[in-house]
């Protein structure tokens, strides 16, 4: 059996190794990062069948929880690890051609730290470690947003830094309160003891934790950093931030609400927030003229959709939300990655400057269309099945509130389709001429193609995928127990 701790140690260690060897390996350090990511994918794939049988619990340094620190890997951890490492690997391949300049080792170091943080947040079984990994993730993403060193990138990074810091302070307070009231930081132990805490203290813990994590999870109105950060980061980083970073934060909220705090009473509030987030995201995207801002706002909308599905208080809803996460990771990565080379080739962020670009960059444009169609939920792409399951899960609850919410969600989809189609029409405009623009290089296109394969072939392996997401859903729904972990 492989040890899940490798998922954290390998990228972390490689990040240090890259910093150490940067002076003589120069830009070749990217191959170290590649090795690390390949190892990560391999480990996470090996992990999946094992945890489907029985969750893996790894005790660090021999001290048993609740005193020691542990990693707890159930289906949730394994599925997300695959998502993170696979998307990470493809985006890394894309970065090889996309990131230019002399000090590339910084990029790859931070890239791996971002991966480390994401894996850590998902896998850890300890609340304080969660905070630590959150900080690793957050700090590396602040820097990566400003990596290009341009004015708007730095400005966005500072805004992100300030809001992210407020978020992490709130989380830290929540962690402190947890330790003060429950006397433990182990998640399973906390799940056992949380019910015994005084209700007003429970409320404060909940509010601190949700609002703190909500900043990173891009829930309205805590997401104000996102449009700037996701749109001015390098496109590969935007793909990561939109593709899995915000989802990781979101799934942590969901996991805590369901299986640790076991406070499903608040889910109605969360689904209302989710639908507001969705509508705000879609309406804000509707009038944007900057392609990356459109994609960033659309990510807000998608996060709203995912949170809506996950706050239905049913296994079906969680399952649907997870499918939607997979869809969003693949399709939004495609869109950001294609947008990256559209921007590089034309030198412009403005959608109106891409008039007729499909003639010059036919492959990129095709991938963009596939990404859009899947994001919108057009059959037979994967997005259709995930959106269908979201709607099915919501209407299956039979409540009038959820039925109304579904109609609002579908309204959001209409808005989303309109602004995406406008972009596609501009790209395929027959009269337009963008001058001498070249197609994106082969390697990035290959990475994008891999994401498209997921979307296109997703429905062929639909039973398998729903099998995995289904067991993740049932893991989340079940309350964690100390006895069950050990």
């Amino acid at each position: 059996m492989v040890n899940p701790i490798l998922l954290i140690i390998v990228p972390l260690g490689t990040a240090f190794l890259i910093s150490l060897t940067a002076s003589f390996l120069k830009n070749s350090t990217k191959y170290l990062a590649l090795l690390a990511m390949i190892a990560n994918v391999w480990v996470s794939i090996k992990l999946l069948p094992a945890v489907m049988q029985h969750p893996i619990n790894v005790v660090i340094a021999g001290v048993k929880p609740p005193l020691g620190i542990n990693l707890f890997v159930g289906p949730l951890g394994a599925v997300f690890s695959i998502l993170i490492s696979a998307a990470g690997l493809l985006i890394l391949l894309y970065s090889f051609k996309y990131i230019e300049g002399d000090s590339q080792h910084k990029y790859y170091t931070l890239f791996l730290l971002l991966i480390t943080g994401s894996h850590g947040m998902i896998l850890t079984g300890d609340v304080f470690n969660l905070f630590v990994f959150f900080e690793i993730l957050a700090i590396s993403s602040y820097i990566l947003v400003g990596y290009e060193g341009k004015r708007n990138g730095l400005e966005a990074a500072v805004k992100y830094l300030i809001l992210g810091s407020i978020g992490s302070i709130l989380i830290l307070v929540a962690v402190a309160l947890i330790y003060q009231e429950a006397g433990t930081l182990n998640m399973a132990d906390l799940a056992d003891k949380f019910g015994m805490i005084d209700p007003s203290k429970r409320l404060m813990i909940l509010v601190f934790f949700i609002t703190g994590m909500g900043v990173e999870a891009a829930v309205f109105p805590l997401n104000s950093w996102l449009p700037d950060a996701h749109s001015s980061a390098p496109s590969s980083i935007s793909a990561m931030l939109s593709g899995f970073v915000i989802e990781v934060a979101l799934i942590i909220i969901v996991k805590f609400v369901y299986s640790i705090f076991a406070m499903t009473e608040i889910l109605g509030f969360l689904s209302l927030v989710a639908v507001i987030t969705l509508l705000v995201g879609e309406f804000a995207a509707y009038k944007q003229s900057n392609i990356k801002r459109v994609l960033a706002y659309s990510s807000i909308g998608q996060i709203g959709l995912i949170l809506f599905a996950m706050s239905l208080n049913s296994t079906d809803g969680l399952n649907a939300g997870l499918m939607q996460i997979i869809n969003h990771t693949a399709s939004k990565s495609i869109l950001f990655l294609v947008a990256g080379f559209l921007i590089v080739r034309t030198g412009s962020y403005q959608i109106s400057d891409y008039r007729g670009i499909a003639k010059k960059m036919p492959v990129s444009a095709f991938f963009f269309v596939v990404g859009v169609l899947s994001l919108l939920g057009v059959p037979p792409f994967f997005g259709f099945f995930s959106k269908l399951s979201v709607v099915m899960a919501a209407l299956h609850t039979g409540s009038v509130f959820n039925t109304v919410m579904v109609f609002l969600v579908l309204l959001g989809t209409i808005i989303e389709s309109i602004y995406f189609l406008r972009i596609i029409q501009i790209m395929y405009n027959r009269e337009g001429d963008v001058g001498s623009v070249k197609e994106a290089p082969f390697l990035p296109l290959l990475a994008i193609a891999a994401f498209t394969v997921v979307i296109l072939a997703g429905f062929l392996v639909l039973p398998q995928i729903t099998g995995y997401t289904g067991s993740v859903a049932s893991e989340i729904v079940r309350k964690m127990q100390m006895a069950q972990v050990f």
């Binding site: 500072v158 805004k159 300030i162 809001l163 407020i166 978020g167 709130l170 429970r202 409320l203 909940l206 509010v207 949700i210 609002t211 909500g214 109105p221 805590l222 104000s224 950093w225 700037d228 406070m263 009473e265 608040i266 109605g268 509030f269 509508l279 705000v280 309406f283 804000a284 509707y286 009038k287 944007q288 057009v378 059959p379 037979p380 259709f384 099945f385 269908l388 709607v391 099915m392 209407l395 039979g398 039925t403 579904v406 109609f407 579908l410 309204l411 989809t413 209409i414 808005i415 389709s417 309109i418 189609l421 406008r422 029409q425 395929y428 405009n429 027959r430 429905f459 639909l462 039973p463």
Partner: protein
């Protein structure tokens, strides 16, 4: 191996081949010809498998999904493939050397694939999946062609995606109510629903299909969308694409909900679901038909009629009687035949003259006699005059409305027909009659490959007019399979207790009447034959700036009369909705000010609000 599989695989193979050979138009042409010939053949022989059901090797939510063959979808299947084949034959020559035609055959094949999938599906999921493929390919189809095409296609798309989302809600709602996607299962359980829920669910589906079938007031996408694309696509879209919406309405009204369930949905007395639906259908007949009078472009004029004629089909269905439903279904076929014929004639003229502008054409009768004959046959059908097919189905519909006690709807139908006659006269006059502009001196008739589809359709239009029994046999089978009463028919018409129709007699009488009129005309003395180039100007000095042309502003006086009643409510409502969306978007966008201090306030506010709300919840 089921024929449905063969059909869908051929269509899909056609799409793939067209994509693979996108560089070679010659290969695309002949591959498409072969594909559509195959589709037509297989769809016609499909009657041997009616009643069979085929599962797709994939399950959704534990439900098997698949296809079925019924008389209803057999009827629509042969229409789809038949008209696609004629369109392809016509296009072989028509599309030669046209700009932007690389994807022409690809989108045509894809669209046909989508439509075939929709009509043969036996459950809501398959139906929805193919419905989406169909809508997106319609969008792609409309985007090809002229400069304005992408814009009007976009308008269609906004309507279509809204309809799709409503449909999706309906699909999922049915699943959560009935626990199944299968049409027959849902049909079996429909009686268990409460009346309000039945009404809600039915409205969801009907509203969604109304968009695709361009029912007033959600029709405004159609005229521009259909007329800005290639003229052959105008034919194909007007002929069959819109009617898939009608298929959906027939399927859900009669096949899934069933007549008994629908008749329970009554508000007060006669004001029931069908009646309300009928009123919308009547508006669809009247308003667009009179809007057609205004059009100065032949394609637009016919596109508006496409909307209007849909109203006849729907009002027949809404009447609820066997005769009316038969009329509605028959009118789908009849409309398809004559409208495609008309548009082919327009396309032929366009092919030779390069324009479809009615203010510029004229006098082509001697130059293009076959096209003229085609248009003449077509407009007689469209106007609903004997001996053409349009008369038969419209007669059924009028009669059903009068017998069913819907005098106002019947009057609306007659008013609609009046408008139709006026505007089709404008069409044929401005294209073929009157003076011939000098620039068209050297115009020739189109070639054989373009004439052939027109001849075939002329035979169909006239044939179905004189022998309506050929189609009525199939329609009777559909009605019985849907659990409705069938109309007793004979080869030349129908024979019911309340009256009969024999098209031989009607046709002979009509021809006799024409003969009498012709004789009177010949006997009269106030005739003068003038040459087509004679531009008598009543003493006015003519120079290039004076537009001396009868065709110009043909119905100016009538437009003057109608104008005060045109309020453009639909247009204003649409603009209002678009404006509202823009305003909301602008407002929401301003939430993200870009100022870090406001963002900080947001976080603090969110924190406090969360405390307040969660305190209540816990």
């Amino acid at each position: 191996m089921s024929i449905v599989w063969i059909l869908l695989n051929i269509a899909l193979a056609g799409v793939v081949l067209n994509v693979l050979f996108s560089k070679s138009k010659i290969v695309q042409k002949y591959v498409s010809l072969l594909v559509f010939a195959g589709l037509t053949y297989f769809s016609f022989i499909m009657y041997s498998q009616v009643g069979e059901h085929f599962d797709f090797p994939l399950q959704i939510a534990g439900q098997s999904i698949g296809f079925t063959i019924t008389w209803l979808n057999y009827y629509f299947g042969i229409m789809i493939t038949g008209i696609s084949l004629l369109t392809v034959i016509f296009s072989l020559k028509y599309m030669e050397g046209k700009d932007g035609s690389t994807n022409y055959y690809t989108v045509l094949t894809l669209k046909t694939f989508g439509m075939l999938g929709v009509i043969f599906s036996s459950d809501l999921i398959t139906f929805f999946v193919f419905w989406e493929i169909m809508s997106w390919s319609t969008f792609a189809l409309m985007s090809t062609g002229g400069k304005e095409a992408p814009k009007s296609a976009f308008k269609y798309f906004v309507f279509a995606i809204t309809a799709s989302m409503i449909l999706m809600a309906g699909v999922v709602l049915s699943y959560s109510l009935f626990g199944s996607f299968d049409f027959t299962v849902i049909h079996g359980k429909i009686g268990t629903l409460s009346l309000s829920m039945t009404g809600f669910l039915l409205s969801i589906f009907i509203v969604s299909f109304s968009v695709e079938s361009a029912v007033f007031p959600v029709h405004s996408w159609l005229p521009d969308g259909y007329s800005n694309t290639f003229t052959t696509f105008t034919a194909y879209l007007s002929g069959i694409s819109t009617r898939i919406g009608i298929y959906g309405i027939i399927l859900f009204l009669f096949g899934i909900f069933g007549m008994q369930t629908i008749d329970k949905l009554s508000i007060i007395g006669k004001i029931n679901f069908r009646y309300i639906f009928g009123v919308f259908a009547a508006l669809t007949m009247v308003v667009p038909t009179f809007t057609a009078l205004y059009q100065h472009d032949a394609k637009k004029l016919i596109a508006w009629h496409s909307v209007g004629q849909g109203g006849y089909m729907l009002i027949g269905l809404a009447s609820g009687s066997a005769l009316g439903i038969a009329g509605g279904m028959f009118h789908v076929l009849n409309h398809m035949a004559y409208v495609v014929l008309i548009v082919f004639a327009i396309a032929s003229v366009e092919h030779r003259t390069g324009t479809t502008n009615l203010n510029k054409l004229g006098g082509l009768i001697k130059k293009m006699p076959v096209s003229y004959l085609a248009l003449l046959f077509g407009i007689i059908g469209l106007a609903g005059l004997p001996p053409m097919n349009g008369f038969v189905s419209k007669w059924f519909i009028y009669r059903a409305l009068i017998l069913g006690g819907y005098p106002f709807l019947a009057i609306a139908a007659v008013i609609g027909t009046l408008g139709t006659i006026l505007s089709v006269y404008k069409l044929i006059h401005n294209m073929f009659l009157g003076q011939l502009p000098e620039r068209y001196n050297n115009v020739k008739e189109v070639g054989f490959s373009m004439q052939l589809p027109m001849w075939i359709l002329m035979i169909v239009v006239l044939g179905l007019g004189i022998f309506p029994g050929v189609a009525m046999g199939l329609i009777a089978k559909i009605q019985i399979s849907l659990g409705l009463a069938a109309v007793p028919y004979s080869l030349h018409g129908i024979q019911t207790a309340s009256g009969q129709l024999n098209m031989m007699v009607v046709g002979a009488l009509f021809m006799g009447g024409l003969l009498v009129a012709w004789i009177i005309y010949l006997l009269g003395s106030r005739r003068k034959h003038i040459s087509q180039y004679n531009n008598y100007a009543a003493g006015n000095f003519l120079d290039k700036n004076v537009a001396y042309n009868f065709n110009y502003e043909f119905y100016a006086a009538m437009e003057h009369v109608i104008d005060p009643y045109r309020k453009k409510i639909i247009q204003r409502t649409e603009q209002g909705i678009a404006g509202l969306t823009d305003a909301v978007s602008e407002y929401v966008r301003r939430i993200y000010t870009g100022m870090i201090n406001t963002y900080g306030i947001y976080v603090i506010t969110a924190f406090i609000v969360t405390i307040i709300i969660l305190k209540e919840l816990i």
